[in-house]
């Protein structure tokens, strides 16, 4: 066991954990941040996606020991003063969800994309989102949500930090 200092949603968190543990398990079990979901354990489905220093990362295959000093953003960290991130708003407006289990991961992949590329083309959206699985088949609506939010997402200060 080792004390690891993490920056999660702009807050310093100290966790006692073995370095080999996955970020996903530490987020969910130690920090009670359950927005990131377990879906496959092999980085294939994207349900566990969070941002590490602004880049989408699969928390299920990310060792927590490798994250000291890095900024981690989970879906819980997107809201600002009770206001949703524009992409969260866009998911609601586009009806881009069914069972919703994949949606936090979708949103984090999307926030990562819009941060880097505020006005992605459709092929760019597909490329960035290809690693996120939705078994309910909401892909066209997720694309619609991303298009709706593109341009406005970058405007929110600190969005997707």
């Amino acid at each position: 066991m080792k004390v690891i200092e993490l920056y999660v949603n702009a807050t310093r968190r100290r966790v006692e954990a073995e370095e080999e543990r996955s970020l996903l398990s530490v987020l969910r079990d130690d920090l009670d941040l359950t927005g990131a979901k377990y879906g496959c354990g092999e980085g294939q489905c994207g349900a566990c996606t969070v941002l590490v220093d602004g880049q989408p990362a699969r928390a299920c295959v990310t060792r927590v020991g490798a994250l000291a000093g890095k900024q981690i953003t989970t879906v819980e960290g997107l809201e600002r003063d009770g206001r949703l991130h524009p992409l969260q708003e866009a998911f609601i407006a586009a009806g881009a969800m069914q069972c919703g289990y994949c949606i936090p991961g979708m949103i984090m992949s999307g926030v990562g994309l819009l941060k880097k590329n505020p006005r992605p083309t459709e092929p760019e959206i597909l490329r960035a989102m290809e690693g996120n699985i939705c078994r309910c088949g909401t892909y066209p609506r997720v694309v619609a949500a991303l298009r709706r939010a593109s341009g406005s997402a970058g405007a929110q200060k600190g969005g997707g930090r």
């Binding site: 359950t34 927005g35 879906g39 354990g41 489905c45 989970t74 949703l84 609601i92 069972c99």
Partner: protein, 723 residues
């Protein structure tokens, strides 16, 4: 025609419900407890209890197995609805939310009858301690059966409130207006809130089903697009699925899985695991599992258990279809009264055609795997789990632990999907067994590999069709034999004078069960491809040929609507492009698909360019939710149509991961166009299942049109189109 749609009971091919329990635990302790009185907890206000008669009330929990509980079968109650003294409106239903968005559409109909905004209605769903008995969320029955029940309860509540207001106002009922949670008497400008009217009341009114409902033309909330009522919880990650729940002192569970299907445990050494601090090890019959304060520790303890298994030879995928066909018929089930055994396709037919079609096993692969949190309080058990049958799982738990059902409560948080794959309570039973041993709550979340291996699969099958037709394009005779995959949708939708349709139930190498639309997908695939082959042989347009042989006006309407939106029969398709059409009905819905594919000859790659779906399921309750269901069925259907297949050998699954089992991803999604055909004159039917059934044949027919290759096996192109 359309048998089964009006049967509310279980269909025989829901194999998973007839299975024996996975574990037979040793008995321990007697149990008897007074029934909990949940109604008392509701407090004051008005409670409307809707009683129902007929098939829905006679359904059994536990899927026909009901050993040991000793309680009379439930319940004639369909739904209940409570209006509290603060005016809060809560509807209670045993149905569960697994992504089909009934939490929204049911709230819509309640809001409609009570003249409330949607946000004012709360739904309590799938909690055996709080909601009326329900057989399960499957068969597209929620909209067809539960929605009218809740509407009636809400309408009765409204009428009761109007009566109370009339008394208070000293006015005639007909002079009162109900709107926005208030009842007003315009002449005197008196106004009463719902809460105010219920104040001091403790009314329980039992009503029958003969309640007048708001006619479709007067709908204000229902019939309109409504966003998911708990959408904000989803996009913020605040919604707690079962796998997100935590209980004080909770442990994490893991279960030892057999080395292969059909394996028996010869010996097990749990010594090392038992020596680990904080670890509880359970060995009970063939059940071996661990519980530990952390998931990693639990995994480590499980890995430390040495087990020896005796395996027996098991069929493999490579000889699956021969295996299915080589067995003697278990139960031969003619699909309808008019079906006779002797062959009906005679020498007289001007054209005779035979075809053999196969479908692979596929996995539901719900993104949230099976999960449960179990907690004991003395001899009472509470389990949170994602299942489509909370009362059925309560029965499984009661049976496993020899408890009366009144001591078991199953709560289903809105769940990370099901698609027919979560009718059973494996994780619930396992978590409860571990929690019992550990004396603490236990959470058990199946790994993806466990979900891909130890859940049940959509049945594989062989379907053989022989048909006869006249040169003028009339289908004269039809014989269809389905081996193993099921009888749903087996009878042709076309008006054919002579028919013989049989489902041959044989032994399945893999555990199989319900999947969205049951065998209808397989049977529609075989039939609609065969129809295309007939049209090809007769040199007739596939749409015109279908319409010529069709009497069903609703099916005709969706075929024509899809063809119109698609531009069927327009300009010749360009090289490498092909078009296909297919249609059918299931579970009260009617669907037609037109698809366009692009084939790259050199690489064999096939891209689905465009899919048009026309769908009709009676009067539409939530157009946007409906469109979402239709689109989702098409996207999910692409997987089973094009590349999904469970690979297995010697009792082991060879592709139990997303890296080896390909599911549809963003780039697979074609351009989608959905035409919703609204029929306000017809009762609303569900839409979670039917829209998936016609996609695969439409794609196969489009690939034939593009490349001249007739594909008769699902998945069609797991590795692209072979030369």
């Amino acid at each position: 025609m359309n048998d089964g749609v009006d049967q509310v009971g279980f269909e025989p091919e829901r194999y998973e419900l007839a299975a024996e329990p996975a574990y037979l635990f040793e008995p321990s302790g007697p149990a008897e407890l007074p029934r909990r009185d949940f109604l008392k907890a509701l407090g004051g206000g008005i409670l409307i209890v809707l009683t129902v008669k007929g098939a829905a009330a006679q359904q059994e929990s536990g899927g026909g197995r009901r050993r040991g509980s000793g309680e009379p079968p439930p319940k004639e109650i369909g739904a209940w609805l409570h209006i509290a003294e603060d005016g809060a409106v809560t509807a209670y239903t045993g149905k569960v939310e697994v992504g089909q968005d009934i939490r929204t559409s049911l709230a819509q109909v309640v809001a409609e009858e009570l003249r409330l905004p949607l946000a004012a209605v709360r739904l309590v769903m799938g909690d055996t301690g709080l909601t009326p008995y329900d057989a399960g969320t499957f068969g597209s029955l929620t909209t067809r059966v539960m929605s009218p029940q809740l509407r009636k309860a809400a309408a009765a509540a409204r009428e009761l409130l109007v009566g109370l207001a009339a008394e208070k106002a000293g006015a005639d009922r007909s002079a009162l207006v109900v709107a926005d949670g208030k009842i007003t008497h315009p002449p005197t400008q008196q106004s009463f809130g719902f809460g105010q009217l219920t104040n001091g009341q403790k009314l329980v009114q039992t009503i029958g089903e003969d309640v007048p409902l708001t006619p479709h033309g007067a709908w204000r909330v229902a019939g309109k697009a409504a966003p998911k009522v708990n959408g904000r919880e989803i996009v913020t990650g605040r919604h707690r699925y079962t796998s997100d729940l935590k209980r004080p002192g909770m442990l994490h569970g893991k279960v030892l899985r057999p080395a292969a299907f059909g394996a028996t445990l010869l010996s097990v050494d749990t010594g090392e695991a038992e020596g680990m601090a904080g670890v509880t090890v359970v060995r009970d019959g063939n059940f071996v599992g661990v519980a530990a304060p952390g998931e990693q520790l639990a995994a480590r303890a499980l890995a430390a258990i040495r087990a020896e298994w005796k395996t027996t030879p098991q069929p493999s995928r490579k000889n699956l279809f021969d295996y299915l066909k080589s067995q003697p018929d278990g139960a031969r089930a003619p699909a309808g009264a008019g079906d006779a055994r002797p062959p009906v396709v005679g020498e007289a037919a001007q054209l005779r055609l035979e075809g053999r079609y196969t479908v692979a096993y596929i996995a539901h692969a719900p993104l949230e795997p099976r999960a449960a949190v179990a907690e004991w309080d003395g001899d009472s058990l509470t389990v949170w789990t994602g299942t489509q049958r909370p009362f059925g799982v309560r029965g499984e738990l009661a049976e496993a632990f020899r408890l009366p059902e009144s001591r078991v409560r199953v709560i289903v948080p809105d769940t990370g999907s099901g698609y027919g794959g979560k009718h059973t309570g494996e994780a619930a039973v396992e978590a409860a067994r571990l929690a019992k041993a550990a004396g603490r709550p236990v959470r058990l979340v199946w790994t993806r590999e466990e979900e891909f291996t130890w859940a049940y699969f959509r049945p594989a099958g062989v379907i053989e069709i022989r048909s006869g037709a006249n040169r003028d394009g009339t289908i004269t005779a039809w014989e269809c034999d389905n081996y193993n995959s099921g009888s749903a949708g087996l009878r042709p939708v076309y008006a054919i004078a002579q028919q013989r349709n049989e489902f041959h139930q044989v032994s399945s190498p893999l555990r199989q069960g319900s999947y969205r639309a049951l065998a209808s997908t397989a049977n529609h695939f075989a039939r609609e491809v065969h129809i295309d082959e007939l049209a090809q042989s007769l040199k007739l347009d596939p749409l015109a040929f279908r319409l010529k042989n069709l009497k069903d006006e609703r099916l005709r309407a969706v075929l024509e609507a899809a063809a119109r939106a698609f531009g069927w029969g327009g300009a010749e398709s360009s090289p490498g492009r092909g078009r296909g059409i297919a249609g059918g009905f299931e579970k009260g819905g009617y669907v037609a698909n037109c698809a366009e594919v692009a084939v790259d000859r050199a690489s064999g790659r096939i891209k689905v360019v465009r899919v048009v779906t026309a769908f009709e399921c009676g009067a539409i309750v939530n157009p946007d939710g409906l469109k979402n269901q239709v689109e989702g069925a098409i996207i999910q259907g692409l997987g089973g149509a094009l590349f999904e297949a469970v690979d297995f050998e010697d009792g082991r699954i060879l592709n139990p991961r997303f890296s080896r089992y390909r599911v549809p991803r963003f780039s697979d999604a074609p351009a989608l166009e959905t035409v919703l055909v609204d029929r306000p004159d017809l009762a609303s039917a569900g839409a979670g299942e039917c829209p998936i059934v016609a996609l695969a044949p439409a794609l196969s027919n489009a690939i034939f049109d593009a490349a001249g290759t007739r594909l008769r096996s699902l998945p069609l192109i797991p590795e692209g189109l072979k030369a």
